[in-house]
Amino acid sequence: MTGEKYSQLYERSPEEAYRALFDEYCKYVYAIAFSKLRACGTAEDTEECVSDIFAEVFFRLDSEKAKGELKGFIATIAKRRAINKYYSLNAKTGDTVSLDSGEISDLVSDSDTEHSAQRSDLSAELAQKIDELGEPDSTIVVQRFYYERSSADIASDLGMKPSAVRMRSARAMKKLKKALEKDGYTL
């Protein structure tokens, strides 16, 4: 959605504009929030973060005239909010590392850039292989192994039986493993 389109909708009805923007980007924002908070937060934390993000997006758009594609603008707010949430959650659970402690040295690595590039390659490779599985297998795999949702929930979303979801996810994982092994990766 562009800023101009949003403004048009907003002039007609702010509520309608909020909802349209939300509907278009809620999955994107959820994916961003989840990707940052997956390791340390609960589903509720992710949901809270998503609502924080949208509240800020709406609030800013109320006062600022946005132009062009809004996706980048939303992504920036989403990533920043999610990172803040990540830090606040880790501060609560005590998973932070003090700058005074010796542990900080463990975090420093000469190969950070290399490692980051490798991660990026790996994630792109995995994303592509998942794409190649085709539907509904790719959705099942992502939902099952990334979002860690139960077979019953996935089945309910996809209109399938839980057993079918299990079966397909097991087969898809085998396929995925084989495909990645060919390219020198293990899963």
Binding site: Y18, F34, I53, F54, Q128, S151, S163, R171, L180, L187
Partner: protein, 396 residues
């Protein structure tokens, strides 16, 4: 070889995020909830903004100094609260000290042992004996334990978490259920399990004599095949066992809270799914219901085989029964990739070799992961009670 896990998507770049986004599922209810929460937060932000504007003379600098202004506004409140807490704390300490001084020495031994200050005699001892305090403590401990035990006897323990626990003894009983099957004297309907001889197996064509006998019989057979539902049910209980309605959130944990696995497959990424789940299908409340169903459609060795397969301790999947009674409920062991899964196709079953007392049915089915159409040939015979049951099956 580089290793990748799904957490590789954590903090993923935009391309990977898009792949994930496409597969992100949010129900309408979840969306509505999130939207409402966002709107509530937006309202709060707007309210906070208008509040700030009202209390701030320099409106033009609001966006830059908003945070500072908010903090400044709370400083008097926070200071007052801190003073109040300090006053209450000091008063409390004074009151408790006064109470302690006035406390009679006939207090409970536990309290006196714990809070007693050294007496003049003890304090004059420059080398404090370790025995005296320890004696005092042990006395206190004894009294404490007495007090605790009496408290425990009068106060009921909180409920255990709603995990499913089963003592080992029950596990053994359940697992031996199938073995006990052989000694089960429950009156099952009996039928003649003798297979029809070749001579008896005359086809309908050979017997056609112009009357409606063969037609009626065909109708009867076909009508009976409708009741294959029961046999399908039995087979479903085995082959497509996860099809039975069950509660994915109610799994069987042992006493230590560990999941009792259906099969140990650490290499399998989905092995965490392999466990016993609570059956919610109202048709099956216990293994006895399954036994009855098997008895309804099978007979003789077929009945024994299926009972053993579904309920016996020698069943596959690591020697665990597929179905078990746990804490009075029926649980199904689900191993998602533990074998072939069957899906019945819509094709009409083929009836052949019809006689008065037997016929065979070929039922087409699709087996995953092979995705081919197979036939299951079932030999159906009529017992003395005029009911048809399956005596044998063959995969073709």
């Amino acid at each position: 070889m580089k290793t990748s896990q799904f957490d590789i998507f954590d903090s993923a770049d935009d391309n990977a995020l898009e792949a994930i986004e496409k597969r992100t599922k949010l129900s309408a209810g979840e969306k509505d909830r999130l939207f409402e929460a966002s709107m509530e937060k937006l309202e709060k932000m707007k309210a906070a903004q208008s509040c700030d504007i009202e209390t701030t003379p320099e409106k033009e600098n609001l966006s830059q100094s908003g945070e500072k202004i908010r903090l400044r506004r709370y400083i008097p409140v926070i200071s007052a609260a801190a003073c109040l807490i300090a006053v209450i704390g000091i008063s409390g300490m004074l009151i408790s000290l006064n109470n302690r001084d006035n406390k009679p020495k006939t207090d409970k031994p536990v309290s006196s042992a714990v809070v007693s200050l050294p007496t003049a005699e003890n304090s004059s001892d420059t080398s404090p004996s370790k025995e005296k305090p320890s004696a005092s403590v042990s006395e206190a401990d004894t009294n404490t334990s007495e007090t605790d035990s009496s408290a425990n006897s009068s106060i009921s323990q909180p409920d255990e978490p709603t995990q499913i626990h089963l003592p080992d003894s029950q596990v053994e009983v359940t697992q031996n259920d199938g073995d006990q099957q052989g000694n089960n004297d429950d009156p099952q309907p009996t039928v003649d399990v003798t297979e029809p001889s070749q001579d008896d197996q005359k086809t309908v064509e050979h017997r056609a004599d112009g009357d409606n006998t063969d037609y009626d019989r065909l109708v009867e057979y076909e009508r009976w095949t409708i009741n294959f539902k029961y046999y399908y049910d039995v087979l479903d209980l085995y082959f497509a066992k996860a099809n039975i309605p069950h509660d994915d959130t109610r799994m069987w944990f042992d006493d230590s809270g560990k999941l009792v696995p259906m099969e140990a497959s650490e290499d399998d990424p989905s092995s965490f799914d392999c466990g016993y789940y609570l059956v919610t299908d109202t048709n099956y409340k216990s293994t006895e219901d399954i036994k009855q169903l098997i008895g309804k459609v099978t007979t003789g060795s077929c009945q024994q085989e299926w009972t053993k397969t579904l309920l016996g301790s020698s069943a596959g999947n690591g020697g665990k029964p597929l179905y078990a009674d746990i804490d009075g409920s029926l649980y199904v062991g689900i191993a998602p990739i533990g074998g072939t899964s069957y899906i019945w196709t819509d094709d009409t079953p083929l009836i052949s070799d019809m006689t008065d007392s037997s016929f065979t049915v070929k039922v087409p089915y699709q087996a995953y992961p092979n995705s081919d159409i197979y036939y299951l040939k079932m030999y159906v015979i009529k017992g003395s009670d005029d009911t048809w049951r399956i005596s044998r099956t063959e995969k073709q």
